[in-house]
Symmetry: C2
Subunit: 316 residues, 2 copies
Amino acid sequence: MKCRKCGATAAINMRHHRLALCASHYLEWIPEQTQRTIEHYRMFSLSDQVLVAVSGGKDSLGLWDVLDRLGYQTAGVYIGLGIDGGVRYSDQSLARCRAFAGARRLKLHTVDVPTELGASIPEAARLTHRGQQKPCSVCGLTKRHVMNRVALEAGVDVLATGHNLDDEVAVLFGNTLSWSTGYLARQAPVLEARPGFVRKVKPFCRLMERETAAYAVLRGIDYIYDECPFAEGATNLTHKDLLNRLEADRPGAKLSFYLSFLRARQTGALLLPGAAEAESDLHACVTCGQPTTAPGECTYCRTRRRIHEKREQRSR
Amino acid sequence: MKCRKCGATAAINMRHHRLALCASHYLEWIPEQTQRTIEHYRMFSLSDQVLVAVSGGKDSLGLWDVLDRLGYQTAGVYIGLGIDGGVRYSDQSLARCRAFAGARRLKLHTVDVPTELGASIPEAARLTHRGQQKPCSVCGLTKRHVMNRVALEAGVDVLATGHNLDDEVAVLFGNTLSWSTGYLARQAPVLEARPGFVRKVKPFCRLMERETAAYAVLRGIDYIYDECPFAEGATNLTHKDLLNRLEADRPGAKLSFYLSFLRARQTGALLLPGAAEAESDLHACVTCGQPTTAPGECTYCRTRRRIHEKREQRSR
């Protein structure tokens, strides 16, 4: 297989684009594609302050690298979840993010969840009803809360996450299987700012996981290879597996599924009135002030309070 | 595994219902479930004339058998497609339908497509642009046209087809992957009558394919085992395969996907305005009088005319 641009040996073949590229052209192509996505969905401009949520993985570090190369004003935020999993997962992740930011002289905000929440994510899952089987639920709500808070405190214009096409499609697929119209209404490459919520964007939403991985490898980014130790067996991964079979059978199926969804919603051929209703129920959490639909206190603060109560009971 | 009702050896285990049944209780359960579906979606009553579209396969003959056992007034319609496929597919199918109807003294309408259309389905696909790769498209349009015509001529109240849950879910899945909102708006267990269109119902829409197959086998119905020779490699079958994996991983996933779709649409959480527009564009075909959105002549009549023109050109 030859690079379409220069005829050199191709480093990657993207069947759904019928495009094979050598390493150096691929390293140009990814920023071009990202820039197109940023412009297409009007995500942000060169004058905006962009906070990139980084986990130490290929997607988020790859995204930060691309945005930096494209000349955007970026800082990173790393959220330490206190996950060990036998591989010192969180420590290793933080080390990668620090090294990445240090080498590029970029600012990295760090938040330590065990300190903030009173428990690591695995402990929090055990101490609350929310994570009986898996800590993914409490982890998700904590990350959303903390990212939003850091972004507001730092006064940035936009928060960027490294979600790739496979992530987006797996979530879309899951929400479609259950026809969760509220979630379907909210899933988008851009979530506009609302009072108390920072604007959120996903500049990698049209890139497949293997493309972001190839980018990180070819750029020599030192990222953490391990999946989160709790991800195994997650429904999301089952869905990703199915979607990979679909893609293998019909290259482009994932991208088409995602883009035709966005298009149908945009043109009004698909209406999901659930979102507007949920929005009208938002009010400020009595403890932290972040918007919430839960009565009184937001779920993060309630979880945090419960953890502290349990700790106190035990120490008596 | 034991039958839940009598403790005898179970003939079938339905994981998504957590229900195992022996042969005789299963043969009671299927009509009960079908009756529930008929009532739930208000499909028809004992005073209605029901025309059952039969192909000679397990679903349609099983459905006709169940409706007959439940005391409904039924007749059948068989559409001979002129498919040989090395197994005399259409001849064998017709023989099964005739034997079934004869043994129960039920009326069977038969239509011979090669006579009506001027060509068998495989020939029609070759003679028109419509079926370059597969005759499925011309076959589908022909069956829809003929079934509707026979139902109107026979003056029945409702046309019942043997579509099972796997069929419905595969179609829903395909239309969801492409977010074909027009098709999504129209897919339903009941399609109400409209001027020129008979009411259409799918009483087996909540039964899985293996359940209808088990019913036909246990009832001793002589049905045609072969899939249509043209079905191989159809996108629908790829989707069915994926959905089978999903169901194996999470029993009930198919039923939940289908029912939550119907529910979301019914409650207005999912709005698909495409359907209403398409309906307003309907007018009577200038040749046959059936409603169509195509300008002038309906697609069936246009296909038929083209076939006759080609035949004439050749015979000159």
